[in-house]
């Protein structure tokens, strides 16, 4: 079975060493997904695999036979941005923009995780449904580094969308 990125099929690479990240940026030419560290430390390469967020640099393309990958380009477009994409612009949830696709992919999946009741380190009582506090957002987004220091604006953007959704 081929690998699907944003609902388009791609054959798996011949070279098994190709990371999912390099496959997305190279063979699929979807350069919205960024390479910041190549070691799963910065989150810039975050994509959704069957709806779950992962660091695409930490997995090989050949391991995703049959998987549905969603990248930043699959979440929205210049003409039709997603709510989070729109909120990031409105709240200046970026500066240089390089961590931004990863932040948005991560936030998209993170809101689903809260909806599904997954606890985090910031959750007081793990038997209760987690509340949408700023501390929950910060904890759950801490795998996505932003060197420009746009964190307060990113949290504000996510909070706005989450409050409308949850």
């Amino acid at each position: 079975m081929p690998l699907s990125i944003n609902k388009q099929s791609y054959s798996l690479p011949a070279d098994p060493r190709v990371s999912l990240l390099d496959f997305i940026r190279g063979q699929a030419a979807l350069t919205g997904t960024k390479k910041g560290c190549d070691h799963g430390q910065c989150g810039a390469c975050t994509v959704l695999v069957n709806g779950v967020r992962i660091n695409s640099c930490l997995t090989l393309a050949v391991m995703h036979d049959g998987d549905e990958i969603t990248t930043i380009e699959g979440l929205g477009s210049v003409d039709d941005p997603s709510d989070l994409q729109r909120a990031f612009v409105e709240h200046d949830g970026y500066q240089c923009g390089y961590c931004t696709p990863g932040q948005i992919c991560s936030a998209t999946a993170m809101l689903e995780e809260i909806k599904a009741g997954w606890p985090s380190d910031a959750t007081g009582d793990i038997n209760e449904k987690p509340a949408l506090t700023d501390e929950e957002i910060r904890e759950r987004m801490s795998g996505n580094l932003c060197r420009c220091g746009a964190y307060p604006n990113i949290v504000a953007a996510i909070r706005e969308v989450a409050e409308a959704e949850l």
Binding site: Q41, G76, D92, C96, I137, N144, Y151, P152, V155
Partner: protein, 688 residues
């Protein structure tokens, strides 16, 4: 036609306060923002270039010595390998900011662990990376110096020696004599340094992640032995710089050499580890602060000495005392920097060079002295703001330090009561508050920008200036829109191409004031031409929403142009103003922290920053810049530190897992106050 403005006197006309479009300073969203959030902004490694080869740098696993030979045959049989580039033009170091000449080349002469020594080129990245690991080479290692305190030092020029500090200390009502050390830092921009070079037999075109194209083109041309006219650099999007992309870097030169040698495009992306190991570090520092006050709490003595380090042959020395020169008074002064030559990667500009490590120590010493003298630390700072530059005697341009301290204290809810440590506790956490002044010396550089009022009534702004996240696309469009009377959406801003008129680039906080002024000057010239077309004076002309009004008449701009665009080159040149005034941006920070009684863990609970930065060109992007600076405060104070192995000199924490930049959960909500200010000595747009 060029409109030239030499800045010899303060420009107090405040033209942008009299225009009526009403967009200057407004918190407009970034015009390029939609590209960034949809993944369609293209960064340097991301251009689709046919037949592009991949290059991976090979680096030295020793700190000092000579590479004696490289055995290309060790990789020639490997799949996809094209060539090992060992050309002597390869760069051993990145250029310093504004170097304007090639950085040190001759990569076989190794001076730090991780220095590039060759470039492996293959058909794919995976092949190049693998071959780079298998390349055999031989070297002779020499004894290296790693400890800045154990080598002879040289005194950096420009020291301040005034009066008798030792005597002032002896006669003081209260004094402190304190030693501090600060850690080395990394810029750690999220986008690693990356280049794609193309050579068509005549012209070298390079997409690169760089901050200062006007200097970088000269550095690259010099390194390659090419005329500047045969080189083109493109950096329309830069994934963060923070000083690390001021000078042309090793990837740019390596990709260029390989592309010219192989006749195919070559992409070189530095790994995160290589960026840490081979790009600029902020020097670690050892500092001594001596402060003396009289019975009124006025500084009489001010000593700030620092030991920093760099590689042999590098002029840059972390300018630790830069703001100490003028922030507070004290007639007996000693400011001096010593430089130790050691074998660590090049020391250069990392965000807020000088201030980032010089201000925290000065401010800590001020706090210690305030406590000793029994004066509230905010009041103590207010009391010591000097009337004129304490050594040069020059007047200050507009200075809002007192307003920053006062407005910040008010918003934060500063408690002027006793400040004895360990008085407030919540559970296992001790709670405390603190204040610090901030300053960043104001710089400007010569800048050109072309503004074209198009026949259709829209405008085009063009300059090689970069936007490294700072908001250049936003503010240049706002300046032009305000001046020419149109919405920002009707202004297209083109940046980051050396074929466009040159500016100083992004660095040292000089870009907005310099390139913004060039745009402003071009727009003033366009307004003059419109006025002359209408047979009136510029001062009587009002431009708003694409319509000109004068002498009770109105007419759409498009009609006035009659199909003919007006293009002007604005040329801003710094002048006497630089010597006549001491100009700086100022600020004040207020922080509440919690320190765990058992573990010592320190958490920032809230933070207020007040900033006097001249005219704010866009309140949204300006606030974001301030937030970024405040986040960096948290990192440099609490988590960031380069750690070197003392035996072989390698950087131990050369990635983002081990070098700890602040993450989401380290950063609380923050208040930013933008203090109203116009500084005509800073720039003709009154911005700093």
């Amino acid at each position: 036609m060029t409109a030239h403005f030499k800045h010899d006197k303060p420009d107090t006309r405040n033209v942008l306060d009299h225009t009526v479009q009403g967009i200057i300073g407004e918190p407009l969203t970034r015009p390029e923002g939609i590209l960034k959030v949809t993944g369609t902004a293209t960064y340097s490694a991301e251009y689709e270039v046919g037949e592009c080869l991949e290059g991976v740098l090979v680096t030295a696993p020793f700190a000092k010595g000579q590479v004696t030979s490289i055995d290309e045959s060790s990789v020639t049989g490997m799949p996809g390998v094209i060539k090992v580039i060992t050309d002597r033009r390869l760069a051993a170091r990145a250029a310093q900011g504004t170097a304007n000449e090639a950085p040190k080349q001759d990569v076989c002469d190794v001076h730090y662990w991780g220095q590039p020594i060759a470039l492996m080129v293959a058909e794919t990245f995976e092949q190049a990376r693998d071959a780079a690991k298998h390349l055999k080479f031989y070297f002779t290692a020499e004894e290296a110096a790693f400890n800045p305190s154990a080598v002879e030092t040289e005194t950096k020029g420009g020291a301040t020696k005034q009066g008798d500090l030792a005597h002032a200390m002896k006669e003081a009502h209260s004094s402190v004599d304190l030693n501090y050390t600060t850690e080395g830092h990394a810029s750690a921009a999220m986008e690693p340094h990356a280049s794609i070079a193309q050579w068509d037999g005549e012209t070298l075109t390079v997409h690169a992640s760089l901050q200062m194209l006007n200097y970088n083109i000269t550095e690259l041309a010099d390194a390659m032995g090419l005329e500047e006219s045969k080189v083109r650099l493109l950096s329309p999007f830069v994934g963060g710089g923070f000083g690390s992309k001021l000078g042309v870097s090793q990837d740019v030169i390596a990709a260029s050499v390989a592309a010219m040698e192989l006749g195919r495009p070559v992409r070189v992306v530095m790994s995160r580890q290589q960026v840490f190991q081979a790009i600029m570090r902020r020097s670690e520092t050892t500092q001594r602060l001596r402060l003396a006050v009289d019975a009124e709490g006025q500084l009489t003595g001010f000593g700030h000495e620092a030991l920093v380090s760099n590689l042999p042959g590098e002029d840059f020395a972390e300018p630790v005392t830069q703001s100490s020169a003028f922030l507070y008074g004290g007639e007996n002064r000693l400011l001096q920097i010593e430089v130790a030559r050691i074998n660590r990667m090049t020391a250069g500009s990392v965000r807020a060079p000088g201030e980032a490590v010089g201000m925290p120590t000065l401010e800590a010493a001020m706090d210690e002295l305030a406590e000793k003298a029994g004066i509230d630390p905010v009041e103590f700072r207010l009391r010591n703001i000097p009337d004129v530059h304490p050594s040069e005697g020059t007047p200050f341009s507009s200075r809002k330090l007192a307003e920053c301290l006062e407005q910040g204290a008010s918003q934060f809810g500063w408690d002027k009561g006793p400040r004895t440590p360990r008085t407030r506790r919540e559970g296992e956490w001790w709670i405390g508050t603190g204040v610090a002044s901030a300053a960043r010396v104001h710089n400007v550089g010569e800048a050109k920008a072309r503004v074209t009022l198009q026949a259709d009534g829209t405008a085009l702004v063009q300059t090689d200036m970069t936007d490294i996240g700072t908001g250049t696309y936003a503010i240049l469009g706002q300046i032009a829109g305000e001046m020419l009377g149109m919405n920002r959406d009707d202004v297209l801003v083109e940046l980051g191409d050396t074929r466009l008129p040159r500016g100083p680039g992004s660095g040292g906080s000089w870009g907005a004031a310099s390139s913004g002024s060039a745009v402003f000057i071009a727009c003033e010239a366009i307004c003059e031409e419109i006025a002359s077309l209408l047979d009136t004076q510029k001062d009587g002309l009002t431009l708003k929403d694409g319509t000109a009004s004068w002498n009770g008449q109105t007419r759409p701009l498009k009609d006035i142009l009659g199909g003919r665009p007006i293009a002007k080159l604005g040329h801003y040149e710094p002048g006497d103003i630089e010597d006549d005034y001491a100009a700086s941006s100022y600020g004040a920070f207020f922080v509440e922290v919690a320190v765990n009684d058992w573990t010592g863990e320190t958490r920032v609970r809230r933070m207020t920053g007040a900033f006097g930065i001249g005219r704010v060109l866009n309140a949204r992007t300006a606030r974001s810049q301030c937030l970024g600076g405040m986040v960096w405060c948290i990192g440099s104070a609490l988590t960031e530190s380069r750690l070197f192995d003392p035996t072989d000199g390698h950087l131990v924490n050369c990635d983002l897992a081990e070098y700890h930049v602040p993450v989401h959960r380290d950063v609380p909500d923050m208040d930013v106050i933008l203090v109203h200010e116009r500084d005509g000595a800073a720039s003709p747009i009154q911005a700093k």
